[in-house]
């Protein structure tokens, strides 16, 4: 009997505001403990929250990007529970009336199939602080710098049927929030993380099985591993006649398994009620229009434009549009080297990616700038340099900097296009290889390649290959 996996994700994305959602403290990552926790973040007696306009704008931006409804009136509620990283004893969140609801995101899987995920809601809330359990003998240490950082929690329907699909969805949201500029997407720092609701059911059943919630998955790989483990575990439980317990679980990457988090389970009666310190958030058409006017081009639209406007193959376009930084980089090259689209795409997806990977760098830290690459591509396009030698120039640009023209001149890499000069080399090579010439004339046209190679070698790679071919053919057949 086969089983079907059912997955829904709750993604938490920290919004890239300068200040916190309800206070004027900074949100920057990595500060000394509790130096970015102001009275409001600490939940001091008497202080009050005031909502950050930018957090609202960002949530609306996200809503528009997934074609969702923006609530004309949304309400902040208090989620009450005690935990040391939650200074007020409640988290300000949205419960009954979230700011964004009913959106949709189309995703493509590796096998080329597509699916559409319903996003039930996306609501604004405040992040909690951090508990540190190490290095304090018998104590847990609390750093509240993160407390009050704005989050958008994006809740999907249980629409995904495999770990791969869940990963594709999470990646797509990741790509989207970075395109929108509403989240830095830094998963190591916890800016983007998710909880996975996983259940299994008999294939063909339309009843949902009992689900578990695996918390705080902060990498795509952990998400995939956690789901795979959880599915396997649930099937094992069910096949041995047991019942899946609805509970919160934690993924342990060291052991590659999930385990129950009973400590957080015991009393989850959150006693939500409208936060009386905050009034309903009213969003009118004017507000939405202003946000819409500032919307960037979204990833799918950009990818499609790369195909339509530049004639890129779909796969190349998808690679380039994968992140907004890369897509911007690509278009910066085009701006400096018009008409180079396909060439630029090949160079970026090929040489540049290889160099970045080799040095473990992201595109933002590339040693070669779009302008530098454009300078090189211009010389490839005007036949100043061959594609092969261009790779040498690229390596020099990467390791030493400078500009392509200077390197080409300094290294004497300028392509030889003077036909008499090429002819001299051709004659010299033909004279040196009478055997191969005879073979060619006897019908073994394959030796042509060998002869071209010899000519290119003799010209130190600088002879224009097209001219070499043409001249050689004429001489051999003549």
């Amino acid at each position: 009997m086969s089983w079907e996996t059912v997955i829904g994700l709750e993604i938490h994305a920290q919004l890239a505001t300068r200040s916190k959602i309800f206070s004027g403290a900074a949100t920057a990552y990595g500060a000394e403990p509790n130096t970015q926790a102001c009275l409001v973040d600490l939940g001091y007696p008497g202080v009050l929250p005031v909502l950050n306009a930018e957090a609202v704008r960002m949530a609306v931006k996200f809503g528009l990007a997934i074609g969702a409804s923006i609530a004309p009136r949304s309400v902040f509620a208090r989620k009450n529970y005690f935990y040391p990283d939650l200074p007020k004893g409640y988290q300000i969140s949205q419960y009954e009336l979230p700011i964004v609801h009913d959106g949709r995101l189309d995703i493509e899987l590796e096998d080329g199939s597509t699916s559409s995920v319903h996003i039930i809601r996306a609501h604004l809330e405040e992040d909690a602080g951090k508990s540190l359990h190490e290095n304090f003998t018998g104590l847990t240490a609390i750093d509240l710098n993160r407390a009050g950082t704005p989050l958008i929690e994006i809740v999907s329907a249980p629409d995904m049927r495999s770990a791969k699909e869940a990963v594709a969805y999470m990646k797509k949201i990741h790509q989207l929030v970075r395109y929108l500029g509403i989240c830095d997407g830094n998963m190591q720092e916890g800016s983007f993380r998710c909880d996975a609701n996983v259940s299994v059911r008999r294939a063909g059943s339309d009843q949902l099985g009992t689900r578990t919630e695996t918390k705080n998955l902060n990498s795509f790989r952990f998400l995939e591993r956690a789901i795979l483990h959880e599915v396997e575990r649930q099937i094992e439980v069910l096949e041995s006649g047991g019942k899946v317990v609805q509970e919160t679980r934690l993924y342990d990457p060291d052991r590659d398994e999930t385990r129950s988090m009973r400590s957080k389970e015991e009393a989850n009666d959150y006693r939500y009620f409208p936060d009386p310190d905050l009034l309903p958030v009213v969003i009118d058409a004017g507000f939405i229009d202003a946000v819409r006017a500032g919307m960037p081009e979204l990833p799918d639209a950009r990818r499609e434009r790369f195909v339509a406007a530049y004639g890129l193959p779909a796969a190349d376009a998808a690679l380039l549009a994968a992140s907004i930084e890369l897509a911007d980089w690509f278009e910066a090259v085009l701006a400096a080297a018009p008409g180079s689209a396909r060439l630029a795409a090949n160079w970026i997806n090929g040489e540049l990616m290889a160099a970045l990977n080799r040095d473990g760098l992201g595109i933002e830290a590339s040693r070669v700038s779009p302008e530098q690459l454009a300078g090189l591509l211009r010389r490839v396009m005007d036949d100043t340099i061959s594609g092969k030698l261009a790779k040498q120039v690229f390596e020099l640009l990467w390791s030493e900097g400078g500009d392509a023209d200077t390197i080409i001149d300094r290294q004497g890499l300028r392509q030889i296009t003077d036909s008499s000069a090429i002819e001299a080399v051709v004659d010299q090579v033909l004279a040196a290889n009478p055997g191969q010439v005879a073979e060619f004339r006897a019908g073994k046209t394959k030796v042509m390649g060998f002869l071209v190679g010899q000519i290119m070698k003799a010209s130190a790679g600088k002879a224009n290959p097209a001219q070499v071919n043409e001249l050689l053919k004429r001489k051999l057949q003549g």
Binding site: G43, P45, N80, G89, Y272, F273, D277
Partner: protein
């Protein structure tokens, strides 16, 4: 022995007949002499006060400053005062030193007022008798065996006894108006949102409002002008201009309609208090106002509604007191749960714990709809009653409290009896309206309060009505025996 109000003191200061230092020193001496018995102050900041008085005197000498410059004053110990202990009359905050000033505190400081100290109150403002204070009950200057009311009982007693001419209070269900009534002074609770709540330790956020206890409506107008107005740190603060309250005092009320809710004059009202209030209303008739009987049919729902909404909000507001970042901490706890439960169990008093438990219960799974949601709907009915009435009348009048001051200990063991003390005041908080209590006579020798309620942001109208009454009567100038002295 006299008991001058702010207006008189300001005149004397301007005329250089006295100095702020002299006023403050006098007030400190009175506190020293009388407060061992009254227990109206939790903290007295003599050094700070004298230094502030000297600064005020320098300002006045330069011809600077305003009508509040140099006036001795006290804050209810629920307003955060930077560097000055703020306890909320709780063991939980017995050693708490706020690192910041409440907006009310900073605005009044900017107006030149001199703070002598922090007044006693019911713990976290939860109570109607001042008996829930960790620092002991306050005594009513009119009868030391009786309660001054609560929760702003310390401020009320201190003003009534003439220790300071005015003090702040907070009113969540009647906590300014009821003690003002029980101690024979003027107590103004402004419209919700009129005065910033920033820095006022929250009890029930949708009901709490800062106000003042004074010797006259005129003094209240002066103070409100300095306290009121938009505060960007409080999302629930109204972004509306503050009218000149002093300028509205003295406006004629001929032809104005005063609504008398029949539910305010029911069988629960002490007969002598009822006659005092009816007598007071005759004064308005003489001024040309019309008395109109009205009905607030949902009024009976107000106390039960309040005792769901207020505990629900308080149960959440008080969760921050966990022994970690501030406040009482049970030392030696082995587990987090023990730290929380012992710190909170030991730091909070019985009434606060009862309200936290009640609030937790009404919000908990399975009870939310039956209690909390139901109460929110009842709250709407109550507010609707007032909206309907204010379409017909300019102001609503009635008693402030069902009885005059009761004996200390009389109700302390029966929470429901205690809650019913606020039957005439609570609905006003639920609807977010402004209300004022002014003295209007006696019942068995104890002061009776007349309550006036206005429409939203109708403080100017309220203060004017109160002022006109005080121009015609002298109840508000009559001294309690504790001030008049033995044999007076």
């Amino acid at each position: 022995m006299s008991r001058p109000g702010i207006t008189q003191l300001a005149r004397a200061l301007r005329a250089r007949e006295t100095s702020s230092r002299e006023l403050v020193a006098g007030a400190l001496a009175r506190i020293e002499a009388q407060d061992r018995v009254l227990n109206s102050f939790i903290s007295v900041a003599a050094g700070q006060a004298l230094a502030a008085a000297d600064r005020a005197d320098q300002q006045l000498a330069r011809g600077e400053g305003g009508p509040l410059t140099g006036i001795p004053f006290a804050h209810k110990d629920i307003f955060c005062t930077a560097g000055l202990r703020t306890t909320c009359a709780s063991k939980m905050l017995a050693d708490f030193i706020p690192p910041y000033d409440a907006t009310v505190v900073s605005r009044l400081a900017a107006a030149g007022i001199v703070v002598l100290g922090k007044t006693n109150m019911d713990e976290f403002a939860m109570g109607s008798s001042n008996e829930t204070s960790f620092f002991g009950p306050v005594r009513n200057p009119w009868d030391l065996q009786r309660s001054p009311g609560g929760s702003s009982g310390g401020s009320a007693a201190a003003v009534a006894a003439g220790l300071v001419p005015a003090a702040t209070g907070t009113d969540t269900g009647g906590s300014i108006r009821q003690p003002a009534a029980l101690t024979g002074i003027t107590g103004l609770k402004p419209t919700y949102g009129r005065v910033s709540r920033y820095g006022m330790v929250a009890f029930a956020s949708s009901l709490d409002q800062a106000g003042i206890l004074t010797l006259s409506a005129e003094d209240a107008a002066l103070l409100l002008s300095a306290m009121a107005g938009f505060d960007p740190r409080d999302s629930t603060s109204a972004d509306l201009p503050v009218p000149d309250y002093m300028a509205q005092l003295g406006e004629a009320v001929a032809g104005r309609r005063i609504g008398l809710p029949k539910e305010f004059f029911d069988a629960g009202l002490d007969p002598a208090s009822a006659s005092a209030v009816r007598e007071a209303l005759r004064v308005y008739e003489q001024l040309g106002a019309k008395l109109v009987e009205i009905s607030l049919p949902s009024l009976a729902l107000s106390v039960p509604t309040y005792y769901i909404v207020a505990p629900a909000e308080c149960s959440s507001n008080l969760s921050r007191f966990d022994g970690v970042r501030f406040g009482y901490r049970h030392e030696g706890a082995q587990t987090l749960e023990e730290l929380y439960k012992k710190s909170r169990g030991e730091g909070f008093g019985a009434e606060v714990k009862r309200r936290i438990l009640t609030g937790t219960y009404v919000l908990s799974a399975g009870y939310y709809d039956a209690y909390y949601l139901k109460a929110q709907k009842a709250r709407q009915l109550i507010a609707r009653d007032f909206r309907r009435c204010f379409a017909e009348v300019d102001i609503i009048a009635g008693p402030t409290a069902p009885t005059p001051a009761f004996r200390l200990g009389e109700k302390v063991d029966d929470p429901v009896q205690m809650y019913l003390n606020d039957i005439y005041t609570i609905a006003v908080n639920l609807a977010g309206l402004p209300g004022i209590s002014i003295p209007c006579g006696y019942s068995t020798g104890l002061p009776v309060g007349l309550q006036l309620v206005g429409p939203h942001f109708g403080e100017g109208r309220l203060l004017n009505f109160a002022h006109l009454y005080q121009r015609e009567t002298d109840w508000h100038t009559q001294l309690p025996p504790a001030v008049a002295g033995p044999g007076a």
